[in-house]
């Protein structure tokens, strides 16, 4: 999205923090943002209002901040670039774990989409960043599997096109949320095993239970109850399905 390029580096840092916080709790309290970025609450409010004007967040004083669809798209993109870069710095350049974050923060703003894709391929579709083991968000290119991305290596990103819906990992879904399987990260054997169990592209799933301590997730898929270990579940990405046809306020496609 071209609008993404208009954001300042500083604004992108805010988006990253918002992404991380909003997967845990929504709306995000502005005080949390100010502690994480180590800036004054006043400047947080100032920036949030700016982002609201651009249409990236919804903000109501005393309640907090929620990313809009457009905002989530940009926030997950910049987070993805950041975490991919961390992996690259750590795995390929052998830079120490505690150094990669700051370095990646500098580099993420200038990484093009094609470079992002090439990096992901080079690193063999990594799923976690090295320092805090956070999940690397899925790419926004129109692929359903990593294999497809590899096969269409010749095509550039703008030829491939981008997804029009935001995707979210099953591990970021809440209990009782429903989704449509849209992307599975990993080699073909994982995908195949998942498909044998009914998790095919476009299949509808519902989260029944999430075990604590990074335990497995219980899903309902094609009428069967399936437990997926966290390591597998985190690489299955869905488009959240809302049952109410009129989306209530704050109901977003990213969960």
């Amino acid at each position: 999205m071209s609008s993404g390029n208009t954001l300042s580096e500083n604004a992108e840092e805010y988006m990253e923090v918002l992404y991380k916080l909003s997967l845990k709790e929504r709306p995000v309290k502005t005080t949390k943002i100010s502690t994480m970025l180590n800036v004054s609450p006043a400047s947080v409010t100032q920036m949030i209002k700016k982002l609201q004007k651009e249409g990236y967040v919804d903000y109501s004083p005393y309640k907090g901040v929620t990313l809009t669809e457009e905002g989530y798209k940009i926030a997950s993109k910049i987070t993805r670039k950041h975490r991919l870069l961390e992996r690259f710095l750590h795995d390929v350049l052998k830079i120490k774990k505690d150094k990669v974050h700051d370095q990646a923060c500098e580099m993420e703003h200038v990484l093009s989409d094609d470079a992002e894709r090439a990096l992901c391929q080079l690193l063999e579709n990594p799923d976690e960043c090295p320092d805090d083991e956070e999940l690397i968000p899925v790419c926004d290119f129109q692929f359903e599997t990593c294999e497809e991305c590899h096969k269409r290596r010749q095509e550039e990103v703008n030829q491939v096109g981008k997804r029009d819906k935001n995707l979210v990992s099953i591990t970021d879904m809440k209990k009782n949320e429903k989704g449509k399987v849209s992307f599975i990260r990993g080699d073909y054997k994982v995908i195949r095993r998942l498909m044998d169990m009914g998790i095919t592209m476009g299949a509808h799933i519902a989260v029944l239970e999430v075990a604590p301590f990074k335990g497995p997730i219980q899903l309902l898929v094609r009428g069967s109850n399936l437990a997926l270990g966290r390591d597998i579940a985190k690489n299955v990405f869905v488009e959240i399905i809302r049952e109410d046809t009129v989306p209530s306020k704050g109901a977003l496609s990213y969960g």
Binding site: E124, N125, P126, D127, Q142, E144, T145, E147, E148, K151, R185, G186, D187, Y188, K189, V190, I191, R192, R193, L194, M195, D196, M197, G198, T200, M201, G202, A203, E209, V210, A211, P212, F213, K214, G215, P216, Q218, V221, R222, G223, S224, N225, L226, A227, L228, G229, R230, D231, I232, N235
Partner: protein, 667 residues
């Protein structure tokens, strides 16, 4: 990124090509029925119901997959029945899948009964469609109709029959409902050998491409033993093994299939195997939707129970309860039975210090000792274990516990299901190692088995209790237990380092909870026990006789003296400890019994508190007992068994020595 390890090595795969050796004799005119279907759909219940006691459970040649065969008569017709392992697909990612696929293709059973779980019709039909692709004579059995009804599903089997084009029989196997009709239909199909192709084709391009490739293969004169339609589909799915097999015959077929697969991928923008899986599921979904109606949804008892069993908080309590229950059951019942048996056989002394005379008498004494050891292992500990394990397994409780415990098990490189073998290890290592079969890969089975060899089994518990708890204090006994758990964890971590590899990750179906049938449980228990008896008794009897002879011949003394630098020098134990340790290899309790025969019942006269603790520690860790070693060899081969035993031995002497030297300052 999680990668699935290669479960099957090439050599292992090639072994499967060789045909299955039949343990049950088949005469011309007999009918062979294979039961196939997903895991936990009730295949074994049907199998047990039909065959009664006439069954053999063994392993598929060269593999750790159970092979259950049986015979029965119906209207004068002799029928053989094979219970294939429960699988979800034929993609050759597990031994079970290979075994089933090879069996159906090469042994060509007269009829395959595909057992479905009526409450999960769509997912089960996915496998039915694959069986139909293989072109086998098929009867579909929709089992667990009662659970389906509870979930509010009304399944119209006639509609299903029409949609699939093969006979469909509804059953509730656990009550024997519908089984007679099932057998009649199976015999019908077996006699006509009618093969029905997939009734409704797949979507436009997929069907066209499959047909094109199938014709091409026909023209090439390819015959792998499978139907060419199935081979065509597998080639398009890029199945590695089928690819390899076809490549050796016809390079052109591979080229053509690659070309067609690319064509498909261009249209659908998905890998070809994904397109085909989606097509198959779309078809399964259509057939299921046409044949079943669901009432207004109301939660079943099973779903209500699940609210507690896998609740983020209560789930841990219930899981702990199940684990504790299993432990208490085994300990209390095991010790109770063990005492009775030991009492009954109290006239017997494992190593009789004064025994001399003809070699026969000595041998007899030793062999009888082995027999006693076997009985005191199997009756009190193994059988009660297997019974309760079967209950926990078949009721579906096991999957709930595995679900809750997955994150902890990940820490030693295993997933939730591995918890079960480990818990079993607290009772007896032998069935525990046997039950590592529930894990997917050899690496995971080996990791689990390794951890199990350190678990304080009931025999070790006896040593700890009777040496330390009685003669030192119960707190030191408890401390040893805690130390053991720490050692398991450390060794588990070390093993993980030594055997790096990707963990499989948990993908597990959670079936509706149900009350298992008792007769099924008992049969399962008996079959499991039987296979252990064949393993354990010969080893015990021969091993014990040998040690007795060596002892009488006076060979043990010198060996013990030879070990003295280690036992006396490093471990600070009395010199006869060497003999105890040698005897204890057969069965750990022998350490204790022999000690009693040496110094009388008041052991405190012969040993200091530190020596008690060190001896218990060594006895606990130093080597798996003979039966454990033999099951390790059976499951993992001689090399792995030796490495594990050596690791045990080294750990024991390091930990024991450190304890001996440190504790002398404290006690």
């Amino acid at each position: 990124m999680v990668k699935l390890p290669e479960c099957i090595e090439k050599s292992e795969y090639e072994k499967t090509i060789s045909s299955v050796t039949q343990e049950v004799k088949i005469e011309p005119g007999d009918i062979t029925i294979a039961l196939a279907g997903n895991a936990n759909v009730g295949k074994s219940v049907i199998f047990n119901n039909l065959t009664g006691s006439e069954q053999v459970v063994g392993n598929w040649p060269g593999k750790t997959v159970d092979l259950a065969e049986g015979t029965f008569h119906y209207n004068g017709q002799k029928l053989h029945i094979i219970d294939l392992p429960g699988i979800y697909s034929f993609s050759t990612f597990s031994m079970e899948e290979i075994v089933s696929r090879e069996y159906i293709a090469h042994e060509k059973p007269e009829v395959v009964i595909n057992v479905l779980d009526g409450s999960v019709l769509e997912r089960n039909l996915f496998f039915t469609l694959q069986l139909m692709e293989m072109g086998v004579p098929l009867v579909v059995c929709v089992n667990q109709m009662d659970i389906a009804r509870q979930k509010g599903f009304h399944i119209d089997t006639e509609k299903l029959e029409k949609a699939l084009g093969v006979p469909v029989v509804p059953t509730v196997a656990i009550h024997g409902e519908g089984l007679q009709k099932l057998v009649e239909k199976a015999i019908d199909v077996a006699q006509t050998r009618k093969v029905v192709e997939v009734p409704v084709g797949y979507g436009g391009e997929v069907e066209r491409v499959v047909k094109q490739l199938e014709e091409f293969l026909d023209n090439e004169g390819l015959d792998l033993g499978y139907s060419n339609r199935w081979v065509a589909i597998k080639l398009l799915e890029n199945d590695p093994e089928i690819n390899k097999q076809v490549e050796s015959i016809s390079e052109r077929a591979i080229q053509y299939s690659t070309y067609l697969a690319l064509e498909l991928e261009k249209i659908h923008d998905e890998p070809s195997f994904s397109i085909i899986a989606s097509e198959r599921y779309a078809l399964a979904s259509r057939i299921a939707a046409g044949a079943q109606k669901q009432d207004k949804y109301k939660p079943t008892l099973s779903e209500k129970l699940d609210k507690i069993l896998i609740h983020p908080l209560f789930g841990y309590f219930t899981s702990a309860l199940v684990i504790l229950g299993l432990l208490i059951w085994t300990f209390v019942l095991g010790n109770f039975l063990s005492e009775i048996i030991t009492e009954a056989m109290s006239f017997f002394q494992p190593v009789d210090a004064v025994l001399s005379g003809p070699v026969i008498a000595v041998l007899w004494n030793g062999a009888f000792g082995g027999f006693v050891a076997g009985v005191t292992l199997i009756v009190p500990f193994v059988i009660p274990f297997y019974i309760l394990l079967s209950y926990i397994e078949n009721s579906g409780l096991l999957t709930r516990v595995a679900f809750m415990m997955d994150s902890f098990m990940q820490k030693i490189g295993l997933h939730g299901k591995a918890l079960i073998p480990l818990i079993l290890g607290y009772g007896c290592s032998v069935p525990a190692i046997d039950s590592t079969k529930i894990l997917e890969t050899r690496r995971e089975r080996l990791l689990a088995a390794f951890a199990i060899t350190f678990a304080p089994c009931s025999a070790r518990t006896i040593i700890i209790l009777s040496l330390v708890a009685i003669f030192v204090s119960i707190w030191w006994a408890l401390a040893l237990y805690v130390l053991d758990i720490i050692i398991i964890f450390i060794m588990g971590k070390l093993a993980l380092k030594a055997m790096p590899g990707e963990s499989t990750g948990l993908i597990m179906e959670m079936h509706a909870l149900r009350l298992p049938s008792t007769s099924n449980i008992l049969k399962q228990t008996w079959n499991r026990t039987k296979s252990l008896i064949y393993l354990v008794f010969p080893v015990f009897i021969a091993g014990s006789a040998l040690i007795q002879v060596l002892y009488v011949l006076g060979v043990l003394g010198p060996i013990s003296n030879f070990m003295a630098p280690l036992t006396v020098g490093w471990l600070l134990l009395p010199s006869f400890a060497g003999i105890l340790l040698i005897v204890g290899v057969v069965r750990k309790e022998f350490v204790l019994l022999t000690l009693v025969s040496f110094v009388g019942t008041d052991l405190s006269l012969a040993l200091t508190p530190v020596q008690f603790i060190v001896l218990a520690l060594i006895g606990m860790l130093y080597i798996p007992c003979l039966s454990t070693i033999s099951i390790l060899i059976r499951e993992f081969g001689l090399k792995a068994a030796s490495v594990i035993s050596a690791a045990n031995l080294i750990t024991a002497f390091i930990v024991g020595g450190i304890a001996a030297h440190l504790l002398s300052f404290i006690l």
